[in-house]
């Protein structure tokens, strides 16, 4: 497995890359000998949450499996920006077949490795939210149901970004996309429960389901490590803000991921065999406006006259999550109202 020397972007401080930590406690990315699953120089937009998420997920998976990783990728931004002819940013064994079949491709790889007696090689499948919750759901559900030994990672940027930001089954209510313009009585995407894939995954009672965001990369790495310590079907749903699709500033990617969790809109939790086993409580609760106003895709809800009624409905959704997953920190003061 290729490793590259750590590039220290935070020079001038002794804490750079967590070097002061005990080596065992270092994040994968802070390890000078870290595997470099995806090299720099790929063509993702500046501030792309998906590129960041994939790098952390795969580097952590490589470390957990001691380099013995094979990856299958669905069509989507991650696939396109990483492999334009004649280049490839991938430093690990990687295959792309189609948009909607990555779970089945991964199942096939796992079956082959089993038949070859090489089960120490682990399989990671990756897809965007479209390749996961929409077109890929049939194959994914089959993979869950058979409990194939695959870690499936969904990079959720809440839309079909690769094709120009159209709505997916994971696009949130009221969001503007190229197919849900802010026109008509219900501007933006319709209200509905969307496709809550983590809960759909849990309904299959697979060994491990977790959600994470690029705002807490150490948590993301830990969940990958945990997932890799288990065999069978595992599902990791990572929220990855997309500056292009969300019409947000590149510098706000991490901030938006954090606001999504701190508002309750994106619950962070783990589940084993269909039962929630851990949640990440909200540290400092924020109203959904804090999250929404940083994104052009919700701009039509604000300004004059604005749509406070729609914002209130979004807030109600966040509140429901907080109750459902028990995300409220103890003695917390709810700032909105």
């Amino acid at each position: 497995m290729t490793t590259t020397d750590l590039k220290l972007y935070q020079i001038g401080t002794f804490a750079a890359g967590n070097r002061l930590l005990d080596p065992d406690e270092r994040s994968v990315q802070a390890d000078p000998g870290r595997a470099n699953a995806i090299t720099s120089g790929h063509r993702a937009c500046q501030g792309c949450g998906e590129a960041l998420g994939a790098r952390f997920v795969l580097d952590a998976a490589i470390r957990a499996a001691e380099g013995n990783i094979v990856t299958a990728n669905a069509t989507g931004c991650l696939e396109v920006f990483s492999t334009p002819y004649p280049e490839s940013a991938w430093q690990l064994a990687w295959v792309h077949s189609l948009f909607g079949n990555v779970a089945a491709v991964a199942s096939g790889i796992a079956a082959a490795l089993k038949a070859q007696g090489r089960e120490h090689i682990r399989v990671v499948a990756q897809a965007g939210d479209g390749g996961t919750v929409d077109i890929g759901l049939g194959c994914l559900s089959g993979m869950f149901e058979r409990n194939d030994d695959v870690l499936f990672v969904c990079y959720d940027n809440q839309g079909y970004m690769n094709t120009g930001v159209q709505r997916s089954g994971a696009t949130p209510p009221a969001a503007r996309t190229a197919t849900t313009k802010p026109v008509g009585v219900e501007p933006g995407n319709v209200f509905g429960q969307g496709k809550d894939l983590p809960r759909i995954a849990m309904a299959h009672e697979i060994p491990y389901v977790a959600t994470a965001t690029v705002a807490d990369l150490r948590d993301l790495e830990r969940k990958v490590e945990k997932a890799m310590s288990v065999h069978g079907a595992r599902y990791l749903h990572v929220l990855v803000p997309c500056p292009l699709g969300w019409a947000s500033a590149s510098k706000d990617t991490i901030r938006l991921a954090r606001l999504a969790t701190q508002s309750g809109l994106f619950p962070v939790f783990e589940a084993e065999h269909g039962v929630v086993t851990a949640t990440t409580p909200i540290r400092q609760r924020v109203p959904v406006e804090d999250y929404l106003t940083l994104q052009g895709r919700f701009a039509h809800l604000f300004g004059e006259p604005g749509r406070p009624d729609v914002v209130a409905r979004i807030q109600a959704g966040a509140d429901r999550n907080i109750v459902r997953y028990g995300l409220a920190a103890e003695n917390e003061v709810v700032p909105h109202g």
Partner: protein, 399 residues
């Protein structure tokens, strides 16, 4: 050893002797008996090491084969009809990635109207998918073609479809010899993939290619497929040497030596066609039959030389291209474009309609009697009374 056995069972047995490491399949008539038998063989451990993936769809089946093949395992699937169409997106993907998947297609009609019986619409609809397509004339040939298909697929790094007529072959019980394990092993060495997903030597498979090289990539793929035209006869010869049986190859000829009339067809219908040829030969008619065993790649030279001296060609098609003509017929026409011989394009045996000796005989009599227009598409045994009850205007009726 000859055994009285169902075609599907024999195919499952021979596939097992080819030692696939991953089988992924989704049931559809008339393929079901093949995959049921294979799942038994895997469960009992007779076929090992092998993983049988019970996938959620044919799209998943072929996709799992794509993954397994890319990971370096010999893989097999089987389907038919709607199932083949449900795989459609993954078919050119498997060929484009150069993955030697072998698939049985138990040929069946395509709906609507839904119809489970035999014709070739399914395989014909995927003729441009970059797979090698072989058509079995008998159950024995179907069995033999599976061994040859794995050899061919792995030598060329291309996927191969073995087409066998649904029910007519798959469900027919007859005497079939399934080559013994040592014979198959000698013909088919362990799979050595051209490219493999391996952490020890990581590669990127399935990257994007833009206009700057896409045409060249496709050109090279086309050249690779054409290599099958050289390799198929070689594999058939190796098979014959090992088993003493002539099976496969590109094109077969029957009593064509001095024939002036030729019937071209694919699959099990050749049985009846050959009977009619025998009968007409007895009556002094100089007629023969040409079997197209390999449909893709199209064996242009072999078909051309088989039909070099004939005065007329009748093509029996088990499928057609709505709004145009037929697939086999048009390839034959193209092949004979420099010849004067008219090509009579006939659609026969759709959706399980039997192609009887009597109807082939009547057809040939009409052609020889100058009663058939070669510029028109013909439908064998069209039931005029049935059509007459239709109240919507029909162009076909008028023709």
């Amino acid at each position: 050893m000859l055994r009285q056995v169902e075609g599907s069972r024999a195919v499952a047995d021979v596939v097992a002797r080819c030692r696939p490491q991953v089988v992924a399949a989704y049931p559809i008539s008339p393929q079901t008996h093949i995959v049921e038998a294979l799942s038994d063989l895997v469960r009992t451990g007779e076929l090992a090491p092998c993983e049988y993936l019970m996938v959620e769809s044919e799209f998943g089946a072929l996709s799992a084969c794509i993954g397994a093949s890319a990971a370096g395992s010999r893989t097999y699937t089987a389907t038919a009809s709607q199932g083949l169409l449900f795989m459609a997106e993954a078919l050119p993907n498997a060929s484009g990635l150069g993955l030697p998947v072998v698939m049985t297609v138990a040929n069946r009609a395509i709906g609507a109207p839904i119809n489970i019986w035999n014709d070739h619409s399914d395989a014909m609809s995927q003729r441009d998918a970059g797979w090698i397509q072989m058509f079995a004339e008998s159950n024995q040939e179907a069995v033999d073609l599976h061994v040859q298909a794995f050899v061919l697929a792995e030598r060329l790094s291309l996927p191969v479809m073995v087409c066998m007529d649904g029910f007519v072959l798959t469900h027919a019980v007859e005497e079939i010899d399934v080559p013994e394990q040592d014979v198959v092993d000698a013909l088919l060495p362990p799979f050595v993939p051209r490219q493999v997903l391996d952490p020890a030597a990581p590669v990127t498979i399935g990257a994007m290619v833009g206009p700057e090289a896409f045409t060249e990539v496709k050109y090279l793929a086309a050249e690779q497929q054409l290599r099958a035209l050289d390799e198929i006869p070689v594999v058939a010869q190796e098979f014959e040497r090992a088993t003493g049986r002539r099976s496969g190859g590109l094109v077969g000829t029957y009593r064509m030596d001095d024939a002036v009339t030729a019937v071209v067809a694919m699959g099990s219908v050749l049985g009846s066609v050959k009977d009619v040829v025998d009968q007409l030969r007895d009556e002094g008619v100089r007629i023969g039959a040409v079997t197209v065993t390999c449909f893709r790649p199209w064996p242009l030279d072999e078909v051309r030389s088989a039909l070099a001296h004939v005065e007329r060609v009748i093509v029996l098609n088990r499928a057609f291209s709505v709004g145009s003509g037929t697939m086999l017929g048009q390839d034959v026409r193209l092949t004979l474009s420099a010849s004067e011989a008219p090509v009579y394009d006939v659609v026969a045996g759709l959706g399980g309609r039997a192609v009887t000796r009597a109807s082939v005989q009547a057809l040939l009599a009409a052609v020889l009697g100058g009663k058939v227009d070669p510029d028109r598409l013909h439908f064998l045994d069209l039931d005029e009374a049935l059509l007459g009850r239709d109240s919507t205007p029909s162009l076909l009726k008028e023709s």
